[in-house]
Each structure stands twice: as structure tokens, then as C-alpha cells.
Symmetry: C2
Amino acid sequence: MISARTIGPVRIVGTGLLGASIGLALRAEGVDVILADISPGSVTLAIDYGAGRAAAPDDDPKLIVVAVPPDAVAQTAAAELAAYPKALVTDVASVKLAPLNDLRASGADVARYIGSHPMAGRERGGAISARADLFIGRPWIIAAHDGIADGRAAKGALEALALDLGAVPIEMDAAEHDRSVALVSHVPQVIASLLATRLTEATDVAVGLAGQGLRDTTRIASSNPEMWVQILTANSDPVVEVLRKYRDDLDVLIGSLSDHAAPGSRRAIAESLAGGNAGVARIPGKHGQARHFAQIIIIVADKPGELARLLTEIGDTGVNMEDLRLEHSPGAQVGFAEISVLPEVEQRLLDELTSRGWEIAGAFS
Amino acid sequence: MISARTIGPVRIVGTGLLGASIGLALRAEGVDVILADISPGSVTLAIDYGAGRAAAPDDDPKLIVVAVPPDAVAQTAAAELAAYPKALVTDVASVKLAPLNDLRASGADVARYIGSHPMAGRERGGAISARADLFIGRPWIIAAHDGIADGRAAKGALEALALDLGAVPIEMDAAEHDRSVALVSHVPQVIASLLATRLTEATDVAVGLAGQGLRDTTRIASSNPEMWVQILTANSDPVVEVLRKYRDDLDVLIGSLSDHAAPGSRRAIAESLAGGNAGVARIPGKHGQARHFAQIIIIVADKPGELARLLTEIGDTGVNMEDLRLEHSPGAQVGFAEISVLPEVEQRLLDELTSRGWEIAGAFS
């Protein structure tokens, strides 16, 4: 048994993917975990998986984690605050201001409520997909507010929970959290879904030409609609604010492109595209670095073991691979591996790979 | 020397990335390649790289490949058609209707012109990045038209060229080509650029939360603006048509989200997202399959050789990996490898990996 930072018992309300995964991870560290869910079958399943035990009348939880769908968070948290008047209550919803405001409006004792948002999990799952290691390396937002009775203790308890689960705790107020995730998560979901929607009218020939660019820009459009309706409506103000600016930019671009021979039109189009260059450059790389890497594209035959052989040979050269992306080519029996490396080792790696017989389809710094 | 399908001499006008790469590939198969460019220095550089020879007064090219920027294609092709009255002329621009119409309007002999579009190359490069294998496995669109004197011979010559370069020839008329690439390439570029533009106003904290979804949706926003101004303006009608539909969908969604408590609003939002599900499902997978795969997410420590070891061990299990994506986690010293496999082997691979000590962060069918 590993000694946990978290002081139990921890009561988890909602035994879906997130709740059950938190339970599994805490149980692995010996914490007493109590499981509850509106569905008795879901609790039984999560207990079968080892995520915790059933609730008992004399339970005295120190920490309660509300892991229910976004639109049920405030009501559930209010009930828990009332039922366990000594416990600290948190939630794991991906929106933070609406639950806090709803809790305040309901007259709940928000002095014992602190929000959190573990940025893990996919919009797929349930207890059956739960994993103790779901949170390892993922950001865990802690959204304190000025109505907490003992802010330091509350933040400390949440940090302990995040660290016990292997997550990276980050403190942020609820409004800043919601604006931030609107921009980096909720708006991209909308943009990608609407782009993918255009493909419903495409010919088979057109979608057959789809390259990596289209695949990347639409990948998240496969997310669960019901889940996203909840997230988007719960965070509608910041999302709408960003979408309106996006729409204004789009209107300008459509205008310029419709009349591209007019004075100033080409410049306006160029500036739209240059704005994208500037924006994408702000996204930090691996481990938050903003470093620039060189890319080498290597042709990999589509047969078992080829990619492993390539990576093993790159490892043999001693060159550290910063990133790897695979591309598939429609209708062809080859794939492409795009390897990112530091620019200063690019030429050496190119020479090594060529001398080992690998075909290089491109190299860019 | 390998025997080429292409009958030379082939004259290449424009010795940037595409022109020089075509030259290198044809030279490797023993074809006589003549290089020309408006910049004498560029020709000399391409000759130095082995992409072909300088033009001579008595050249009698059978095929001329115009590989100049999109807005110079029609004028250059017209000049070549006039200068070499027996040669077949093609181009490699990513838009096909505008050059054909401009050529027709100029009175050029379009009976010897057939457009093509190799879907390879990045919007970076120049002769210095040229590679003989740039086209391997990539689609090569051949855009015939009804004004060609000997359509069968013209298409045959272009097919021979595409096959000699390792590309996959696909025949399509110019208008269908332009509508198709507007949808699968040009519109995604605009959508991604405008999304990335929103990040220029983001706080450091917000961009620090960027996950794989944002990275994927904005990756192509780093493309070269000058190149894309040319592509977008040359294909403005089909691009604007799709963008207008996109804008209409966006307006509806903004309206529903702004007033999400109104009757019908949540349903409208759900339908927008479901439309994205339907659209993304139309994109063919590896080798054009529409198969569904299971995904397993494995935690990979950020140290040299770990990914190679994982792939080697997956290879040892005999399970064929259909796809691989890497994710990085902000601020953490671990990464995630998302492996796609056929659903029927998912459980076996999970068991094998777990027994070999790999940590599984998620598994989804």
C-alpha cells in the first residue's frame, strides 16, 4: 500500500468514466472510497471493478467528488453539502462558473465547495472504460473562489487529490477557466463539427481525396453530441463571444474572396491567413516548450514491424525524436512518418536514415 | 537504369519543390529532362541537384510540365503551347478550372493542354527540398476536357508520368476537381486559419491548456499565406459557396447557443453536432477503408527508445497496428500513444501490454 496524500474517506457521486477512474486510483493508494450513483446498477458495476465500496449510514466523508453530467452538478453538489455538513465538496465538470453561481443561488453552503476540472477522459466510456491511470500527466484545474471558508485547506485537499492521481494541479478562477476552455476546447469543437457537417453533402470522389489536413481538422467532430450540448450550453457566454468574433472574421474573408480583384482584397485574405500563423505559433509544444523543430517525412511500407524498425533505428542513431505523426495516403500501400527533431540534428538523421535505406519524402526546417 | 513509361524529353518550367522533384524522379528513370525557370539561378540550382539539364535551342520536348505558381500557370502554359507546337502541356497547380478557362480565353491551343494536380508537397520548400520520392503514394488528379485533340493519348501520357513518379492517377473533370478540393482542402485551410487567429487574443494560461484537439484543428494554420492567397483566389467560387453554407450553419448555432433555454435550441445544437458526426464518418480510413477501429491509449515515458520498445512489443504480439497518434501532456514528463487496432484483437492486445507492464490510460471501441 502506497501512502496517499488524500485523507479519506472520499465519497464519489457518479460512477461513470471519471468517477470510477478516480475511485480506482484512490483505492490503489489505500484510500477508503465510497461510491454513489443515481443508478444502483452503475454503483454495483463500479464496485465490481474495484473502484470503492457501497455507502453506509454512518459514513463520514472528508471529501466528496461530484462526477455527474454538467447540468446535474449544482443540484447534486447542493444535496451533498447539505447531507454531509463537515465534508469538502468538489466536482469534475468541464465548466466552472455556472455550477458555482447555481450553488450560490440555491443557498447552498459554498464555503465548503471548491470546483475542479480534470482535463482527461474522452467523451466515450462509462465505468467499463475506467482506468486508475486516466489522469496521469493531465492538467487538473482547481477553481477556488472567495466564498470558501478555509481556502488554503480546500486548495490543499484538491492538490493532494490531483497529485495522488498523477495529475498536474493548476489553480485558476472559475471565470478565467471558462473563458480559457471556451477558446482552447469548446470553440474548436464547434468549428470542427460545422466543418465536418459540410462533408455530408460531399461526393464520394471528393471525400476520397481527403488528406491529413482534413482528417486533423475534423477529428474531434466525432465527439458525443449529448455531452457537448451540455458543455456548450453551460458555457454559452464565453463560447458565443468567441464564435461571434470568428463569424465576423469569416464574413470579412468571404467578402474579400467574393470580390478578390477589388483593391485591398488580396491583402485582407493574406492577413487572415497570417493571423492564423501568429495564433498557431502561440500553442506550446511538448512539455510547454515553444521550440521550433525540423520535420523529416519518411516513407514506411505498410507491413507489420516497419514503424517499430524505423523508430528503433532512429533510437540507434542517438537522435531524440520530439514528435511523430503518421499519415496515410488514399489508395496506396505506404504510409508516411513525420518525425520532429531539433534542427541541429536534422541533417545527421537524414544522412543516417538514407544510408540505412529509408526513403525520405520530405524534410523541412 | 529503370525503363520509364514516360516518353521524353520532358521540359519542366518552374524549378521549385514540385518541378525539381518531378525532374529528380524522371532523371532517376533515365528520362531526358529539360529545366527552365524565370530565375536562371533557380535552374542552375536544380541542375546542381540532378533534376535535369539546361534548355537547348533544338529541344523537341514531348511533354511540358508547367510547375509555376497558380496565377502564372495560364500565361506560362500559353507561351509553352506556342513555343513547342507539337508538345503536350500539363501543369501541376492545385486549381484546375481557372487555368483552363484563361487558356481558352487567350486563344491558346488547348487541344494539347491537359491539367493535372499532384496532391503532394507542402507549402514549404523550393528546389532545395526537392525529393524524387515526393509523389509516392499520393493522388495525382488528371483533369481532361472535351477540347483535347487526342484525349486518350493525353490521358495516357499523364498516367504514365504519375505512375513513373509512384503516384496514384485519378481522372476527374476540372470543375469537379475544384469543387472537391474546395471542400476537402481549401475550406479546411480557411476554417483552421480563422480558428488559430482567435488564439492571438488568448492569455498565456489559456494557450497553456491547449490539448490535442486544438493542436489538430489548427495544425494547417501554419501554412504559407502568400501561396494560399493564390490558391483561394484562383478557386474562389467553390470556396465561397462552401464558406457561405458554413457561415449560415454557424449563425444558426450562435443563435441557438445565445438563447439556449428557448424551445428547440438544445435540439438545434445537438443536430449541429450530430451533423459533424455524420460528416466525419464519411472520410475513408487507411487505404480507403471505412472500417471502424478500437483505440488503446498507452502511457509512454518521455525517454529515448520507449516508443520504439512499445511498437516492437506490439509487433511481437502479432497484432497489426492500423494507426498511431501521439499526444503530449502540458507540463508532464509522459506522453500518450493512441493505437488503433481491429476491434476483435483489442482485448488480446490490452492483456499482452498489461502483462508486459505498460500502463493503459484508456481503451475505446
